[in-house]
């Protein structure tokens, strides 16, 4: 069953909302708590999907082990999904191959798509973005969200993205974590104090989705306005 979902992403980019219209018999899977509103005739089922290992992989990738299934068993209906934070939502059509998602970026998918964890070992440890990426494989629709808006970049050759700004990338791209080239000469001091540092270098041909905001700099900006704790 590889029929595609009918969907609409509304209110982009900052307060995006994903509307999926299900035909009779169609299903959509989504992360728990993403559902904002739905037709009453849709059936919701919560549970593990894809066995213990895949569930564990999702958990390591910053997602819940539980996946909610919305199925249109009693006629068509629609369901609205909202990301946990403000930001855009992006659709990707998988036709074989794989899409890699940053920690926590997954939102929903159609039938025919498997979401699992992909161990990235030392690469993940040094990128500071978690040891596990989410990997979507199969044929079908995937929806992911960002913090801030999403910029789609068509890479041919080499491209560098700060690890904190990567949302997703296609499997045809090779990636390696490295120190920002300009910092290499500047020594370790620059790496620690410039606030720039580890980047992901993509090479080959494929798409990268870059988010226009990164939550850590936002938090340090907002921190200055917090009331001070009394000593």
């Amino acid at each position: 069953m590889t029929s595609s979902l009918q969907y609409e992403i509304q209110l982009r980019p900052d307060f995006s909302l994903l509307k999926v219209s299900l035909e009779q018999g169609q299903k959509v899977y989504a992360e728990p708590s993403a559902m904002a509103a739905m037709s009453p005739n849709l059936k919701l089922k919560a549970g593990f999907k894809g066995g213990a290992l895949k569930s564990l992989g999702r958990l390591m990738g910053g997602e819940s082990m539980i996946v909610n299934t919305f199925s249109a068993e009693n006629g068509p209906g629609e369901v609205l999904f909202a990301p946990g934070h403000l930001g855009d939502t992006q659709h990707y059509r998988l036709s074989g191959g794989a899409l890699y998602l940053q920690r926590g970026a997954y939102m929903a998918n159609s039938e025919g798509v498997e979401i699992s964890g992909k161990w990235q070992g030392a690469k993940g440890f040094f990128s500071g973005e978690g040891l596990v990426l989410l990997k979507a494989t199969g044929t079908g629709d995937v929806f992911f969200n960002s913090y801030g808006a999403i910029l789609e970049v068509d890479v041919t050759g080499d491209y560098i993205v700060d690890t904190g700004y990567i949302v997703a990338f296609e499997d045809t791209l090779q990636y390696s974590v490295s120190v920002l080239p300009g910092l290499r000469g500047g020594g370790i001091k620059r790496l620690f104090f410039s606030g720039e540092g580890l980047v992901c270098r993509f090479s080959g041909q494929g798409k990268v989705w870059v988010q226009t905001r990164y939550v850590i700099p936002f938090l340090s900006w907002i921190d200055r306005f917090r009331p001070q704790k009394n000593k």
Partner: protein, 373 residues
């Protein structure tokens, strides 16, 4: 040339495809790479093997890309058998190309692992350096505190400790240890330290010193001693812990390390509560091996200055070691202390460096004290 036996799951990059990319079923037939896209309607793309430029990459690093010379069309596949089949169908043309590409990737991977190892080592070195500089700083800070601080802490700890039944100060055993301490006292490193020794009933061959000069000796130790000099050896060792200020140093280090961690984490509120925790007696009475060795050597110096043969100290350790086999209770004093052989050796070596003098035997009645227990 033949047709490939199997087809592979892969994909195609081409301008004419919506979004530029599509999944495809790939096969090799009559010297051509053929890709049929999986979407509706299906499109067919072909690249003659003779025009195929190979590349290796993708997120896995194992994806094989086959490009036309102008780069407008790319057929790619991640299947492990694809490269083999490609090579087989081309009659071995691609073997060397693939080999070279794989070699390049391995070189890159080993470079990555090299830097990985370097940064791991650097990080570890930084942590160790940080730890020891905190310890060092704490040591300097502690040395600056007046000795009265040691006494306050030691007395507080002693009063709150449940050491067991204390022997009366008129008891022969109490008198014995007190006389030994009196003999050693004038030679202590800190002359005005107020030593107070208490004998406590206990089955462990044990003695310990609290900061400020509070010393506790268990009755079992007195019972097992072969001579008053041996007890003097243990007492000199324990008095040295007090005069070398090991207890307070230890507290300082513990607080120092945890305080540094708290400062890094940003919460200083819990520091006070922490001080109470650290002052627990287990920390006051167990010292590092370095501290034990220091106390041994300082003890030897004191004994020598008091004209008591330091040999007795080494003898006592030897005896403890022999006893260890059938006396598990005796382990208490030993467990926190360095290896006996090295201790005995250290003591003897240190003794040699001292000028040889005539040692005077202690005129004390150990037998009477032991019988009274």
């Amino acid at each position: 040339m033949s047709t490939s036996r199997e087809s592979f799951e892969g994909g195609v990059f081409h301008e004419s495809i919506p979004n530029g990319r599509a999944g495809a079923t790939i096969s090799i037939a009559r010297g051509e790479l053929v890709a049929d896209t999986t979407g509706e309607p299906s499109q067919r793309f072909t690249i003659p093997l003779s025009q195929c430029k190979l590349d290796l990459g993708g997120a896995s690093g194992r994806m094989v890309f086959c490009r036309t010379s102008d780069g407008s069309l790319t057929i790619f596949c991640e299947d492990r058998n694809f490269a083999k089949e490609l090579d087989f169908q081309s009659g071995g043309v691609f073997a060397s190309q693939l080999q070279a590409l794989k070699k390049g990737q391995r070189a890159e991977a080993s470079r990555f692992h090299f830097w990985l190892a370097v940064s791991a080592v650097a990080l570890a070195a930084l942590l160790i350096l940080g730890y020891y500089s905190i310890l060092g700083a704490a040591k300097v800070a502690i040395r600056a505190l007046p000795v009265s601080v040691d006494q306050t802490i030691g007395n507080t700890a002693f009063n709150s400790m449940d050491v067991g039944r204390k022997l009366d100060s008129n008891h022969p055993a109490s008198k014995l240890v007190e006389e030994i301490v009196d003999k050693l006292k004038p030679h202590a490193k800190i002359p005005d330290m107020k030593f107070k020794v208490t004998v406590v009933e206990g089955k462990d061959i044990n003695a310990f010193a609290l900061p400020g000069g509070q010393i506790v000796v268990y009755t079992a130790l007195i019972k097992e001693a072969k001579s008053a000099e041996q007890i003097a050896g243990v007492l000199a060792h324990e008095m040295s812990h007090a005069t070398l200020r090991h207890g307070i140093e230890r507290i300082g280090q513990s607080i120092g390390v945890i305080a540094a961690i708290q400062l890094l984490v940003g919460d200083v509120g819990g520091l006070l509560a922490l001080g109470g925790q650290v002052a627990q007696t287990s920390i006051l009475t167990s010292y590092s091996r370095t501290a034990e060795t220091e106390a041994d050597l300082e003890g030897v110096r004191m004994l020598h200055a008091a004209k008591i043969d330091p040999q007795a100290m080494a003898e006592f350790f030897k005896m403890l070691e022999e006893k260890m086999g059938d006396l598990p209770d005796a382990v208490a004093w030993i467990s926190t202390h360095p290896q006996h052989e090295t201790r005995v050796e250290n003591i003897n070596n240190h003794k040699k460096t001292l000028e040889s003098i005539e040692y005077e035997p202690l005129k004390l009645d150990l037998k009477a004290a032991q019988d009274a227990l």
